[in-house]
């Protein structure tokens, strides 16, 4: 690759979207192994890490000396000693189409609180189900939390298909069970994929073992699933984090726009006080801009000398949120 190619590569990078997802499900359903496999198949594991993995796999692995991919993500000593995941680990990988941040979450009931932390920032959840065990209590619990936190897109990865002879019947039965469970808790966008994380079947590549399956592989699903940024089309809202007041000539409200967009001269309202004003300046970093949208960290100044401080919310005056004093 020569220098102009790098420029092309970087421009492609800029067009790529970001998908944040979690892997969750019951203990021992193979979450960490799946992530290890995703990293390995997307060539994100380096040679020195592979060498360390080979040594670790022999020492504390659970694969009889074969590479134990779970050790790539179980980064804490206590996790490696016990062969379990205690807290969420964040990993990064890319394909030509997308950049991914994946949170590997613990399956143990006592560490469910840590699963919630990982789930809160995810656009999609991959829920693993052991093909030998089917839908378990912890599968339902995690699915419920996923729904509760507002994650709409779910992939149910029916894992360890190699241990049930790649049986179509087993897959269909679990798919029916899970669809029923999902429907009851309000998850409507569910894709079931039969996989074997250990062997990599239906992760990045297909194999002859499950020729009866004609749906997407996990990679295909992750690369193509639509990431809705619904907040972009909602009215403007910006919680004020901090007042920037270096001297008497400048007073700006700094914050991250959580929904909608804001333009110069837009009429805004400050809540909860209800004072009205207009947008005088919008700064993204040290640059003045005419407009800014959800997801951006900005500093906004107003045309009037009104009281606005941390904890207040700037909202579009023509579409304010309803304010109530009681539930």
């Amino acid at each position: 690759m020569s220098s102009p190619d790098v420029e092309t590569y970087l421009r492609t990078q800029e067009r790529r979207s970001l998908l944040r997802f979690i892997t969750c499900g019951s203990v021992d359903d193979g979450k960490s192994t799946l992530i290890g496999r995703l990293l390995y198949d997307s060539k994100m594991v380096f040679e020195d890490q592979l060498a360390a993995l080979a040594v670790d796999s022999k020492k504390v692995g659970t694969r009889g000396g074969d590479l134990d991919f779970a050790l790539l993500v179980d980064g804490l000593s206590a996790e490696r000693e016990q062969g379990i995941t205690i807290d969420v680990a964040y990993r990064f990988f890319s394909t030509d189409k997308r950049h991914f941040i994946v949170a590997d979450t613990p399956g143990h009931e006592q560490y469910t609180r840590n699963m919630v932390t990982g789930a809160s920032t995810a656009d999609l959840a991959v829920i693993l189900i052991d093909a030998r065990k089917g839908v378990l209590t912890q599968t339902r619990r995690h699915s419920f939390i996923v729904a509760l936190l507002g994650i709409r897109r779910v992939v149910a990865a029916i894992n360890k298909m190699d241990l049930v002879d790649y049986s179509r019947g087993v897959f269909n039965q679990i798919q029916r069970d899970y669809d029923e469970c999902a429907a009851r808790i309000g998850l409507t966008d569910v894709t079931c994929i039969p996989v074997s994380a250990i062997h990599g079947h239906n992760i990045a590549a297909r194999g002859p073992e499950m020729s009866w399956y004609d749906g997407p592989t996990l990679f295909e699903q992750l690369e193509s699933v639509e990431i809705g940024h619904e907040e972009a089309s909602r009215p403007f809202r910006m919680p004020v984090q901090w007042t920037n007041r270096p001297d008497s000539t400048f007073r700006g409200s700094a914050g991250l726009i959580v929904s909608g967009a804001v333009r110069l001269d837009d009429p805004v309202r400050i809540l909860p006080s209800g004072s009205d004003s207009r947008v005088a300046r919008i700064l993204v970093g040290d640059r003045d801009v005419d407009t800014a949208a959800s997801g951006q960290s900005v500093t906004v100044t107003l045309t009037d000398d009104v009281d606005v401080s941390r904890g207040d919310v700037l909202v579009a005056r023509d579409a304010p949120p309803s304010v109530a004093g009681r539930w």
């Binding site: 690759m1 020569s2 220098s3 790098v6 420029e7 590569y9 970087l10 990078q13 800029e14 067009r15 790529r16 979207s17 970001l18 380096f46 040679e47 020195d48 890490q49 790539l72 993500v73 179980d74 980064g75 804490l76 000593s77 206590a78 490696r80 205690i86 807290d87 969420v88 680990a89 964040y90 990993r91 990064f92 950049h99 609180r113 840590n114 919630v116 932390t117 809160s120 920032t121 940024h229 972009a232 984090q241 901090w242 920037n244 270096p246 400048f250 700094a254 914050g255 991250l256 967009a261 700064l283 970093g285 040290d286 407009t291 949208a293 997801g295 951006q296 960290s297 500093t299 941390r310």
Partner: protein, 299 residues
């Protein structure tokens, strides 16, 4: 308007820094002079513009940093008008602790970990920004953005707090402090891509050029000054090398490289099959060594 991955990361980092400034009494930015620190500092300048940085910078100087790093640090502080504190562990200095006689583990513990704890206590900082990224190392991949430390500055990985959405918990008991990592979700490529787009200055040691090096313990070590003992059978040679990460010069291995520009570095990283921290001797002095250092209070 769809934001790029870098725009999202930038917005997130700025949001994190503003949250600390709004909620903590005495924040400080740990400035290590490396590329991640350069990006973190650049983001901070943006987050608080047009105000000056509402916190000082702290550099823990082990006295074994590359000379070019120190020159870059001082030039950066001057260029941006920064309030920079430099702290050296006085006891370690008196004892003459160094990586050659005392080994990397003891040197790092005394001159970095203990020094950092002394400095945070001496200045009374209650929150410290660090430029660590989750993609660097497996125990860092596990850490919260806002990481609570005990009065002894220890990290307890089994007692991490919930951290939901963009709600960060800045509450502390007396004596406790926070380490905050605004670059948690950045990758090595993201950092270089951003340096490229924003033309952020970095230490010249990142760029390939002929330098005098010695092959030692499986790495090219730069002969940065005359404190470096040259053993029998060792001969410094001029090689075209660069550094992927920067620390103490006796503990930072250079790599053979012809990458003399930021795009060339990005190209090299894309083609390499070795991870960024492979040249860091301190990561390999024992198994799970980063986690141990963090538990002890290393940032």
């Amino acid at each position: 308007m769809t934001l790029t991955v870098l725009q999202r990361l930038e917005a997130e980092s700025m949001h994190i820094m503003r949250e600390v400034v709004a909620e903590c009494e005495r924040p400080v930015m740990l400035y290590s002079i490396g590329k991640d620190s350069s990006v973190m500092l650049h983001l901070a300048m943006k987050a608080f513009y047009p105000a000056k940085l509402p916190f000082p910078l702290l550099h823990i100087d082990t006295t074994w940093k590359f000379r070019e790093m120190i020159a870059f640090r001082d030039a950066t502080a001057k260029r941006l008008g920064l309030d920079l504190h430099v702290y050296v562990n006085p006891e370690g200095l008196k004892m003459g602790i160094n990586p050659f006689t005392h080994g990397s583990a003891l040197h790092t513990d005394v001159m970095k970990t203990q020094a950092l704890k002394q400095a945070l206590d001496a200045y009374g900082f209650d929150s410290a920004f660090g430029g660590a990224r989750r993609d660097e190392e497996r125990s860092r991949a596990k850490e919260r953005v806002f990481s609570i430390r005990s009065a002894q500055h220890q990290w307890d990985p089994k007692q991490q707090r919930p951290e939901l959405w963009r709600l960060y918990n800045t509450r502390k008991r007396k004596g406790e402090s926070l380490r905050v990592f605004p670059l948690s979700n950045w990758t090595e490529i993201d950092v270089w891509h951003y340096i490229h787009l924003e033309s952020i200055p970095v230490v010249p040691l990142y760029f390939a050029k002929p330098r005098p090096v010695v092959w030692r313990d499986g790495a090219w070590i730069l002969v940065d000054d005359d404190r470096m003992p040259i053993g029998p059978g060792e001969a410094p040679e001029m090689r075209e090398v660069r550094f992927r990460t920067l620390g103490c010069y006796p503990l930072s291995g250079a790599i053979d490289s012809r990458a003399a520009t930021v795009p060339a570095i990005i190209q090299e990283i894309l083609q390499t099959r070795l991870s960024e921290r492979q040249g860091r001797m301190i990561d390999h002095d024992q198994s799970a060594s980063m986690e141990k250092k963090k538990v002890d209070g290393y940032f």
